[in-house]
């Protein structure tokens, strides 16, 4: 963005916090999303992604802190926020017994689209998501992917300034997922809107987002572009498994001293080294290990993926829900449901 022009943020938060009783789902989050960006929140289930999105879409009030959407305060000016956002929820919310077109008509009315524009807007989005030919069929006959597309179309019918997509492709097969990504990119170009999405799919974040915020345990661990994140780890990863040995600690210290190694993840006898010059580092590793009498069981050299980025910042894989935090949130949710 050129200098001297005031940067307009579509989303701005300051120390945003949300607690449910004694557990903090969103913990002191501050970040901004620039106008026109596709920004993704990446994190495991229960990391605080959906809670943050519910605050942004005025469904939940923050415990403390501030959030501005399209320049409007979610607390003080919820009505203006609602006029400027589109929200596509994780579960598909289209009315099954209405036709595709009727669903969009409902969405248009909910969002106060002027009467004389409703039909052209609906035609426009139907074409975009390629559902024009099925528009008069009841949604109950649609496939999962078609329903999702219809849902997304409903979210952008009123040309919102910010479009929120909560886990846009969860539960869809990989071909459908790729297709949805294409639509999202198309929408982004065609309507020039800011898109904020949450996902727990690395590939999705990598594929769609200009920038990603990795969120875990209610806190943002890092924000950057997917490429920079991967570059920061160096361009190669060495994973090695070693046998138990008393010199383990000194082995780690020695490894840390190798200049090309940027970061080491220690998973108890399984080591992941992020490095910029793997082929030269490997002989050094062998040298150190034989000096210390450590036996290497396996060793491999790979390119980093966003998965590795995630592990490097959170210390665990996105798939394993091993944090206690998750279970607590789920428990609290269940309690609320039963009450």
């Amino acid at each position: 963005m050129p200098k001297g022009i005031e940067i307009l943020y579509s989303i701005e938060t300051k120390s945003l916090t949300k607690s449910f009783g004694d557990l903090t789902a969103v913990n002191d989050i501050s970040f901004s999303v620039e106008k026109g960006e596709i920004f993704g929140f990446l994190g495991p289930n229960g990391a605080g992604k959906s809670t943050t999105m519910m605050i942004f879409t005025t469904l939940l009030k923050p415990t403390s802190g501030k959030a501005l959407i399209a320049g409007f305060d979610v607390m003080k000016d919820a009505k203006h926020v609602r006029e400027n956002i589109g929200f596509v929820q994780q579960e598909t919310t289209v009315d099954e017994y209405l036709t595709g077109r009727e669903n969009l008509l409902l969405q248009a009315k909910l969002n106060h689209i002027p009467k004389n524009e409703i039909n052209t807007r609906i035609d426009e989005v139907l074409e975009l998501i390629e559902l024009s030919d099925k528009q008069h069929q009841a949604v109950v006959t649609y496939s999962g992917g078609m329903r999702k597309r219809l849902d997304i179309a409903g979210g952008l019918l009123h040309h919102p300034k910010v479009l929120f997509l909560d886990e846009p492709t969860v539960g869809l097969d990989i071909q459908t997922r790729r297709k949805i990504w294409q639509y999202i990119k198309k929408i982004h170009i065609e309507f020039d809107m800011t898109i904020f999405l949450t996902t727990h799919y690395m590939e999705e974040a990598d594929n769609l987002c200009d920038r990603i915020g990795i969120i875990d345990g209610g806190k943002i661990q890092v924000i950057d572009s997917p490429q920079n994140m991967k570059n920061a780890l160096g361009n190669e990863i060495i994973s090695l498994v070693i046998e138990k040995n008393n010199n383990y600690d000194s082995f780690l210290v020695e490894l840390k001293n190798i200049e090309f190694i940027k970061k080491i993840n220690d998973e108890d006898l399984k080591l992941i080294l992020f490095t910029s010059n793997g082929t030269e580092v490997i002989p050094t590793i062998f040298q150190i290990s034989s000096d210390l009498g450590i036996k290497i069981v396996t060793l491999s050299l790979t390119q980093p993926t966003l998965d590795d980025v995630f592990i490097s910042y959170t210390g665990h894989e996105i798939r394993d829900d091993k944090s206690k935090f998750n279970r607590k949130i789920e428990h609290a949710k269940m309690k609320r449901l039963r009450a």
Binding site: F87, E91, T92, L98, L110, R336, L337
Partner: protein, 261 residues
């Protein structure tokens, strides 16, 4: 102000669309009142002398037909709010809540749709009543009767929406509905003349807005005034009940949907 009407109509339109698409539901909801009018109406046909003792000339089935019309209205409208729970569970509610429409418009739209649906169901029951030989001395009276049924159902849909907004589960909702629906129906002169009730029961019955609605509909339908309640009093009670319920429902709904579900 215009926008709240427009928004109410949007929700009303959506609810009616859904009703129209569920044809089997229309029939299923008719079964119970049809059983009442056909079975109970005939079971008690020998009570005609009792009915006559309070000045009613026709058969028992004609006496209780207005009661069953109101029964249909009560149960259709008190069940009607249940989709509020579905909407919260399956995301439509969040969709509506994140759009610029007002919260009370959602409640009002739901209530007006429920009351119209209840009136449609009640009119089908009137059809059944006519088919099995119940007669209207003045067929034009069907117009004010429908008006009363719509109004009365609006009050009951208010109860339903209030309960659905506060209940967190289907079980709680249905429990509350059963707790309320049947007693409100039973504690009215729907099946039995008010004059013949024991005193204490008559007092309780007179506190029930259903009573006034049944008396009013019966008077319009058969021309016989019963229970000594003037028409204007009945109309006033119904209006007060409806206004109170609609106000409570919009207030409670707005408060409850702002809490996480």
């Amino acid at each position: 102000m215009n926008s709240i009407l427009y928004d109410t109509y949007t929700i009303f339109w959506r609810e009616l669309k859904r009703y129209k698409k569920s044809r089997s539901g229309v029939l299923i909801r008719l079964i119970q009142p049809a059983i009442w009018i056909i079975v109970v109406g005939n079971i008690f046909s020998e009570t005609q002398p009792l009915i006559q003792s309070v000045g009613f000339e026709g058969e028992y089935i004609e006496f209780m037909a207005p009661g069953v019309i109101i029964l249909t209205a009560i149960f259709t409208s008190i069940f009607g709010g249940v989709n509020t729970l579905w909407d919260r569970r399956y995301g439509f509610m969040n969709k509506a809540l994140t759009s610029p429409i007002s919260r009370s418009a959602i409640a009002l739209g739901k209530m007006s749709a429920i009351s119209l649906i209840a009136a449609l169901q009640a009119s089908l029951i009137i059809g059944i009543a006519l088919a099995i030989g119940v007669t209207f001395p003045n067929p034009l009276m069907i117009i004010p009767i429908m008006g009363i049924v719509i109004l009365f159902s609006l009050g009951f849909s208010g109860i339903s929406v209030t309960l659905a907004a506060t209940a967190k589960s289907q079980e709680t909702f249905w429990g509350m509905i059963n707790l309320l629906g049947m007693p409100l129906f039973m504690l009215s002169p729907a099946l039995f003349p008010l004059e013949l009730l024991p005193n204490w029961l008559a007092v309780v019955t007179k506190l029930n807005p259903v009573t006034y609605t049944v008396l009013l509909v019966r008077e319009l339908m058969t021309g016989v005034s019963e229970g000594g309640v003037p028409i204007l009093i009945s109309i006033a009670v119904i209006f007060a009940f409806v206004l109170a319920m609609v106000a409570i429902a919009s207030y409670v709904f707005t408060r409850e949907v702002n809490k996480p579900f």
